[in-house]
Structure formats: C-alpha cells, structure tokens
C-alpha cells in the first residue's frame, strides 16, 4: 500500500499541474529509523514468533514516531492516524492483524488455506476471539482498481496520507518550508 499511495500521489500531482522536480526538495527527518522498524518486524515474524506480540506493534510505533517528528508535513497527520489504527489492532491481537476470511478466500485461496489452519505470518483469521475487528483487514480493493488487495482502515488512511503528501510536494516548492534537520535527510523520486 506504500507504493499505491505514492503512485496515486504522482498521478494526482501530475493532473494538478505539479512538477516531479519538486520532489527532490522533500526533506524528512529521522527517516533512517525506518530500518530498525523493518528489521524488528522481520525478526519477529521469521525468527522469534514468540515475541511477535511485541515486535509488530513496536515497529508500527517506530514508524509512528518518524511521522510524528515530521508531522508538519502535509498529510502526515492522516498517515499517523492510519499507523495508529494498525498499531492498536495489532497490539490487542498479540501482534497479528485480523483478516476477514470470506474476503481472504476471494483474494488468494492458498493464503486462505494457511490462515484457516491457524496464523499466516502476522495475520490471523477474524473471529469472536479477535478484538477491534473493524480495524482489521476488511477493505477488499477490487477491479476496476488495478491492484487487487485486502487492507485495513489503517492501511487505507496511511496510503491517503502518503498520497496527499506526495501530490502536495509536487505542487509546492518546499524551499521555504522550515524543516531544518541535520540528522538525516533523504530524497525520494
């Protein structure tokens, strides 16, 4: 969904008359934190399943912190809300994201088989035993949208936030924005 948000941002920005060149001016502080966040999540999923209940919410928390530190950026508040929703739902479900089973079956029968017999990586079948189900994977994105997938409200908000950010960055010359962090910077194109 990360990619989807960015591509949608490109499209919207392009049609609003924005320029790809402006994307070079994007400055996000503490972006390197995304690496430990990724490592923690992968470690939890592949090597230490016992610590999954901690690893997944923790990685969401780190991403949330990155976005919080850059909260003045356009659209990041929406993205923060999205990550928070995911953080909350994985926290109360022992590090796993509840999946609406009928939709999972429609999406990928193989994955459905795995899920049905327990858990599948960080996913868990939605039932009376899972909590905050409405924040789970319930949005079945289908054609005409080109990328068929099953996502949660958090993913959706996160994508919208990214989309808003990217298209806005294409519109505005970020030179006059007061970011001013020397710790880390990254350019995205």
């Amino acid at each position: 969904m990360l990619i989807d948000g960015i591509i949608l941002g490109f499209i919207v920005g392009f049609f609003r008359g924005g320029s790809f060149k402006n994307l070079l001016n994007i400055r996000i502080s503490y972006l390197w934190l995304i690496i430990p966040a990724y490592i923690i999540q992968r470690l939890g999923i592949y090597l230490f399943p016992d610590l999954l209940f901690l690893a997944v919410p923790m990685s969401y928390l780190i991403i949330m912190i990155i976005f919080y530190l850059n909260r003045h950026q356009y659209g990041f508040i929406v993205a923060i809300l999205g990550i928070f929703a995911n953080f909350l739902v994985t926290l109360v479900n022992k590090g796993r994201m509840p999946v609406e089973m009928s939709l999972a079956q429609k999406l990928d029968p193989l994955e459905y088989e795995y899920l049905n017999s327990g858990t599948y990586f960080k996913h868990v079948p939605m039932s009376e035993n899972t909590y905050l189900n409405f924040l789970g994977d319930i949005f079945y994105i289908q054609p005409p949208y080109p990328h068929t997938t099953l996502i949660s409200l958090g993913d959706l908000l996160f994508s919208i936030g990214l989309m808003l950010f990217v298209q806005h960055s294409m519109m505005v010359n970020n030179d006059d924005e007061k970011v001013g962090s020397v710790h880390a910077s990254s350019t995205k194109a």
């Binding site: 508040i77 939605m126 409405f134 319930i138 949005f139 409200l153 959706l156």
Partner: protein, 634 residues
C-alpha cells in the same frame, strides 16, 4: 460590586447555556445510540468508513453562494444513511465525523453540536418515514409520501435545534428566531429540497451497485464541489476587479460612489474625508511615473492600515483618496484625519527631499452627512471645497467644511425673502468657487482681516457687519468673467483685461437689487481703486474712495501675497509687510497700512522689531511692486 458580579454572570451565561444544551443533546444522542445499537459486521464497517470519509470530505468542502451563505452535501449523505441503513449506521458515522472534524479544525463544541443535532433530527424523521409506510433498507420510489415526509420532518427538526442554538447565542426569543430562520429564508428550504433529491439519486445508486455505487457517486459530488468552488473563486476575482483599484488595491471610484449612495439612502450618519497628496505632480515630474506609482501604493497602504475597519478607503482618482467613515461626526472624523496626516508626514518616503517642504504631506477636507451636506452631491462638494481651502492656504492640514454664509445669515437676522436672496448668493459664490478655485478660502480670510482692521480703527459693530459681508461678496462679479480669462496662466490681452476689470461693475449690478445690501455697493465697485487715483473703474483718489473699500483693498492684496498660487510660492508675512509698506500712499491708504501692519503683527505673532529691522535694513524683496499690482488685478 454586586452589579459588576451580576454583569459578569450575565456575560458568561450564554456560553454556559450552550454547554448545557450540548450536554443534553449528547445525553439524548448516546441514549438513542445505546438503545438502537446493532452489532456491526466487518463488511458493514467498510460501508461505515466509506460513508465517514466521503461525508467528511463534503462537509469540509462547502459550496459558497454569492449571498454569503454556503451549503454542503452532508445532508444528502445522511439521508442515504438513514433511509438505507438505519440508526446504528447513522449514529456511528456521525460520531466518527466528529473525530475527523476535530482533527481537521479544533472547534470541538461546534462539531459536537452539529453532529448531535443533525443525527437526532434524522433519527426523529425516521419515525415519520416509517409511519408513512417507508421501510429502512428497501427504497420504494413509489412511496413518495414517505420520502417527502422524511424530508419535511428533517427540515423542521433541524431548524428547531438550530433556533434553540441561535436564541441562546443571541439571547433572543425563540419564536422570532424560528420565524426568521424558516420563513425569512426560503432559499434554505429550496437548498434542502435539492439535497434530498441528490440523496435520493445516491440511494438509488447504492441500492443498484452497493459500495461501488456509493464511491462513484461521491466522487462525482466531490468533482462538482471542486468545480463550483473554482467558479466561485472566479466570481470573486471578477468582483474584485470591478470594485478595486488596480494599482493601489483600494476600492475604486465606482465602488465609492455606490457605497456612499447606499449609506445615504439608508440615512446613515457618516463623515467623508477627501485626501490629496501635496506637490505630487512635482514628485512625478522629478522621478517619473514609476516612482510616483510606488509612492501612491505606499501612501494607500499607510491610509488603509490606519483606517482599518473604521471606514472604507477608496482611490478617488489621481493622487486623491476618499474615506467614508460611517457613524462618525465631523469632529471624530477630524481626530482620525489629523492622526492620519501626522502619520504620513512623519513617515520617511524615498526622495521626499525634492519636495518644497522636504517631506511628503497630505491635505484633507472633511464633510459630514447629514450635518453639513444634506445629500450626496452637497456632501462631496463641501468636502471638496474644504480640501481646496487647505490647498490654497497652508497645505499639510485638515479642514472641516464651514460655511460663512450661514454665519452671516444669523448675524443679520434676515427676513424670510432676504434669506432666499442669501441662498441665491451662496449658489453664486460656490459656482464662482468652481470657476476659480482660489476664491473660496480667500474671501473668507479677507473677511477675518477686514474685520480685525475695522475693529483696530474703531468702527462700530454695525459697520463691521457690513464690512464682513462686503468682503465675502466683493468678487461676486467674477461669475460673469469667462473661466478662460480667470484661470489664464500667461499674460492677458488688452481685451481680456477690459473684461476682467469689469467684474467690479458687474458685482455692483448683481448686488444692487438687494435692498439690505445697499451699504456695501461702494465696497464692491471700488475695491480696485488706488490711493493715488490710478485704479479702476472710477479713478477715485484718497479720501474719495469709501473707507470700507480702502480697507478691503489692503486686506485683499495682503491675502493675495500670502496665499499659494499655482504659479508661485506664497510670501512670508515679513515680505508681505515690506511690500505693503512700500505701497503705502501709492496703492494703499498710508494710515490704514500702519494700522493693518499692527493687526498682522498681533495676529501672526511677528515682533514689531523684526518689522522695523526689515524696513530700516532696506532688504531686497523678491517680488517687485509691479508684480504685486498684476497679482492684485487678477
């Protein structure tokens, strides 16, 4: 103490009342929510979230209307929600809407109130819908009765909740507010009707193709909203172009006229300032128009910043600005004008050194409605006259229009037919004023000086009365002189001279039929005679010239020397005194000259010593006697 406490209590009360009102609505909301709650499946959550997203978007992107109101498609979304999905959806969506709105713009109380009242209204309307045979979730277009019933009930409940809110905020009776809101605002009912119609189409879409239908239709609505807003921006832009001055960004002449007309038609008390930048032409000539435009912009900014929301600032034209100050009398306006004038003269403008006073200044004329001008034309004319009075005397000053004619009317205790005559003379005087801008302040100052001189030589009050009116009217014959001759910059031809000289005789003829003014006839006829007998029209000499006329000759010349004329700068008092002294016995009665110099020395605070020094020292005077004579003749 007691009273103050009570006052404060009363002030806080509406706010408290509003809080209590929201609290009660909140209790109702959550009670209903709890009673009606049905478990929501994950798939239903998808619908709810989609609804929240789109109704939030439509809520924040309101469509403005030219009359200042605006509307949103939120009502349409609520209609679909209630009719198609029932109360649980409605309450949940509205609750999440508060959260979204709170993140978007903090005003929590307002969002809570809106969400509570709108959802309770929809919930109550649902009863009407069901009692008329409507079924939640099954749209039946044949049952138009139920749909109309729902809409009418919703408008009614919504208006009721809003009225309670308004009567709490404004502390006005409920029924009056209700009437204003519902009956005085037929457009609102129309817009609501439109919203329900759109809601109905959305419901059909949702029934036909579910979530996809909802998304498609919502996107369409959003596109329409964006388009409308763009059009509105364009409308606003055009509006501004029509009403604003391109260079300064102030309102333009057209807007000024309409605004003034509207206010006067409404009989609003107001004051009018007309502001003119002094010596702006010199600045423009010296630095060019590009720099001149910069100064205009800067001055506009200062004026606009100083006036703020006290009034409307317009560019009247060229380097002239006009300010309408509603609900201010001329004295309040004077305070404001003086503050503004000081602000501008204290401001450092680039290149102001080349101006005669080495600083950029403004002259301001003030008039008021209805105390001075009785209609738009006379208001503008009087403010204009006051401005020109400043222009021809000191510049960098503020004058309130005052009419000497009105004062004289009081002094003479006139009979009613004579009042009519005076009015006519007043018109003649102001038409003369438009022919020859210089006359206005000039005659008034003549009056003051003549009066002072007459007192000095011990004339009676009765005489002084006539001398005053004589000074005022002495140039009235100039109305017959063509404007080209009056305002000619170069040398006059002999023919033109002959015409100009005739103004003394024409003046006498104009005044002759007015019985009570007979005593001033010699003053008007003979104020251009010379003591040595070389004047016009009768070549009288010495004591043969009427005393009043001799007085007038001196004060008139003195004022001519010390006023600003377009072709030369005024003389200082000292220079003028020297000149008078030089002409004593030639043009002027020497005795009167002596007395008049005393008058000036008292009035203008010049020490007799200075004067003596000047005379004894035989200082060179810039302007020669001949020039003064020419001046005088003009």
């Amino acid at each position: 103490m007691m009273m103050r406490k009570l006052d404060r209590f009363m002030q806080v009360l509406p706010k408290h009342k509003f809080n209590i009102y929201i609290f009660l609505l909140g209790i109702a909301f959550f009670t209903l929510f709890f009673l009606e709650y049905q478990p929501i499946t994950p798939k239903e959550w998808v619908f709810i979230f989609t609804f929240v997203g789109f109704s939030f978007l439509s809520d924040i992107s309101s469509i403005p209307l030219p009359n200042g109101d605006y509307f949103t498609f939120l009502t349409s979304f609520l209609f679909v929600l209630t009719i198609m999905y029932g109360p649980t959806y409605l309450f949940m969506v509205v609750l999440l809407l508060v959260v979204c709105n709170y993140f978007y713009s903090k005003k929590l109380r307002v969002h809570l109130f809106n969400s509570f009242q709108i959802s309770i209204s929809a919930y109550l309307s649902l009863f009407v819908y069901e009692s008329l045979g409507g079924v939640v979730g099954a749209l039946d277009l044949a049952n138009i009765k139920a749909i109309l019933g729902f809409s009418a009930a919703f408008i009614l409940f919504n208006s009721t909740f809003m009225t309670i809110y308004l009567s709490i905020i404004d502390n006005t009776p409920f029924l009056k507010q209700f009437q204003d809101l519902l009956l005085g605002n037929k457009e609102m009912v129309l817009i609501f009707g439109l919203m329900f119609l759109i809601g109905l189409i959305m419901a059909i879409m949702v029934e036909a193709s579910g979530l996809v239908g909802l998304i498609m239709f919502s996107l369409l609505l959003l596109a329409i909203t964006i388009m409308f807003r763009k059009y509105y921006e364009m409308f606003n832009h055009m509006n501004e172009l029509a009403n604003k001055d391109e260079l300064t960004g102030l309102f333009n002449h057209r807007y000024f006229q309409t605004q003034l007309k509207q206010l006067i038609n409404k009989n609003t008390k107001l004051s009018l300032l007309i502001i003119d930048i002094d010596y702006f032409k010199s600045y423009n000539d010296f630095y060019g128009h590009v720099e001149g435009d910069k100064i205009l912009k800067l001055v506009s900014k200062i004026i606009d910043g100083y006036i703020g929301d006290k009034g409307t600032v317009c560019r009247y034209g060229g380097e002239e600005f006009s300010i309408i100050l509603p609900n201010k009398d001329e004295h309040e306006a004077y305070e404001i004008a003086e503050g503004l004038r000081h602000k501008i003269s204290n401001y450092h403008f680039d290149g102001q050194e080349i101006l005669p006073e080495h600083q950029l200044t403004v002259s301001i004329g003030i008039s008021s409605f209805p105390s001075i001008g009785h209609n738009k034309e006379s208001l503008l004319m009087t403010a204009d006259e006051a401005l020109y009075k400043v222009k021809h005397t000191t510049r960098n000053n503020t004058f309130i229009y005052s009419s000497v004619v009105d004062k004289i009317e009081k002094e003479f205790n006139l009979k009613s037919e004579d009042i009519g005559v005076m009015r006519t003379l007043k018109v003649l005087l102001s038409s003369l004023n438009f022919k020859d801008r210089y006359t206005y302040g000039h005659t008034e100052r003549d009056m003051e000086y003549a009066e002072a001189l007459a007192r000095k030589i011990g004339l009676t009050e009765e005489d002084i009365k006539f001398i005053r009116i004589g000074s005022l009217l002495h140039d009235i014959g100039k109305v017959e002189v063509p404007t080209e001759v009056l305002n000619k910059k170069g040398k006059l031809t002999d023919d033109e001279w002959a015409i100009l000289k005739n103004h003394t005789i024409w003046g006498e003829q104009i005044i002759k039929p007015i019985e009570f003014l007979t005593p001033i006839l010699p003053m008007i006829r003979n104020h251009h005679e010379r003591y040595d007998g070389r004047g016009y029209p009768d070549q009288l000499a010495g004591e043969n010239i009427h005393l009043w006329a001799r007085i007038l000759t001196i004060v008139d010349s003195y004022d001519a020397m010390t006023s600003n004329r377009s072709y030369r700068k005024r003389k200082t008092v000292e220079e003028a005194i020297l000149e008078l002294n030089h002409e004593a016995g030639k043009q002027f009665d020497p005795y009167l000259v002596d007395k008049f110099i005393e008058v000036i020395c008292e009035k203008e605070d010049v020490h007799k010593n200075t004067y003596d020094l000047l005379v004894l020292g035989q200082q060179e005077v810039a302007v020669t006697c001949e020039e003064i004579n020419k001046e005088k003749a003009l």
